[in-house]
Amino acid sequence: MSTAVTEEQIEKLVVESLETFGADPGEISREATFEALDIDSLDLAELSQIVHEQFDVELKGSDVAEVKTVEDAVKLIASRV
């Protein structure tokens, strides 16, 4: 992972994005599942786009399909930046 982007910055972006998609801020945690947060495949596609815009990281649909929790998403993005 590049020193330019920290895991905390990634988590902040993910959490802010989830709130934009309508997830309850009180329910968002590292362990929370996207299913529990009512985050669906279109939301994850938009999250991929936001990540691309912010960090220039390309996430494929097959990558995102494996992501189940907030922590999964943060770890996946962190492994690519």
Binding site: L42, A45, E46, Q49, I50
Partner: protein
């Protein structure tokens, strides 16, 4: 908000230099949208469309791109995004005909029509949706045809492409509806354009209205579908055919 165009961004009309595409470009410009007038060949016609829009107080940019070439399609979007901002209205109008009876239709003629009329529309839609879902607003308008829902001997390729467009319209509409993005199709019947100039005049006899339609009559429907007021219309196909498909 009285006009959707007040939010910024722009419209893109593929195959916008002539006929129905040119009329739609003018109608969207009149609604306040800066318009990308895409053309593959015939830069003079594209220039005339842009000049007409500018004379009427609108903004437009002619953009050359073969929509069947993904790199050219991407460059066209980038050009428009730099000039006007995100493409928030996409009109997939570019189309070709290569007619023959199915028994004689070549793979090349089949492929060219599917690639231009269907595959390119999908790629343009996928590209435009990125900006639309981020903006929580978008209008995709696919120019289908009465051919597809109806048979027309000699146009198996064209019918397959246009029926495919209608199927794509419905599914993409469902996928993005909750982001404020609508996806609809317009199915023109016999419209007076260069593309239909060689068609048999006897076809008019099958049109209940007993006349061909005009490009501006199709454009008026596109203008409505692009509007703020059409925000609850999605996944639909609007027939502009003088009753032909009724």
């Amino acid at each position: 908000m009285s006009s959707a165009a007040e939010r910024g961004g722009c419209a893109l009309v593929t195959g916008g230099s002539r006929g129905i595409g040119s009329a739609i470009a003018s109608a969207l410009a009149a609604e306040g949208w800066p318009v990308g007038v895409n053309f593959r060949s015939g830069d003079q016609a594209a220039g005339e469309t842009v000049a007409r829009i500018e004379q009427e107080g609108g903004r437009a940019l002619a953009v050359r791109a073969d929509v069947t070439v993904p790199e050219e399609l991407d460059r066209m979007f980038e050009t428009l995004e730099q000039a006007f901002g995100r493409v928030l209205v996409l009109v997939n109008n570019a189309g070709v005909r290569c007619d023959d009876l199915a028994i004689s239709l070549t793979d090349a003629d089949w492929g060219q029509v599917i690639d231009t009329n269907l595959n390119a529309a999908f790629r343009a839609t996928r590209r435009a949706l990125r900006g639309m879902i981020r903006e929580r607003f978008g209008r995709v308008i696919n120019l289908a045809s009465v051919v597809g829902p109806r048979a027309n001997a000699g146009q198996a390729n064209y019918a397959a492409a246009k029926a495919g467009l209608i199927g794509m319209t419905k599914t993409v509409a469902v996928e993005v509806a909750r982001r404020g993005v609508t996806v609809n199709a317009i199915a023109p019947g016999l419209i007076e354009t260069d593309m239909t100039a060689d068609l048999d005049g006897e076809l008019l006899g099958a049109v209940p209205a007993r006349r061909a339609g005009r490009p501006d009559e199709v454009a008026a429907c596109a203008r409505f579908l692009a509007s703020e007021q059409a925000g609850y219309v999605t996944g639909s196909t609007l027939y502009v055919d003088g009753g032909l498909a009724a």
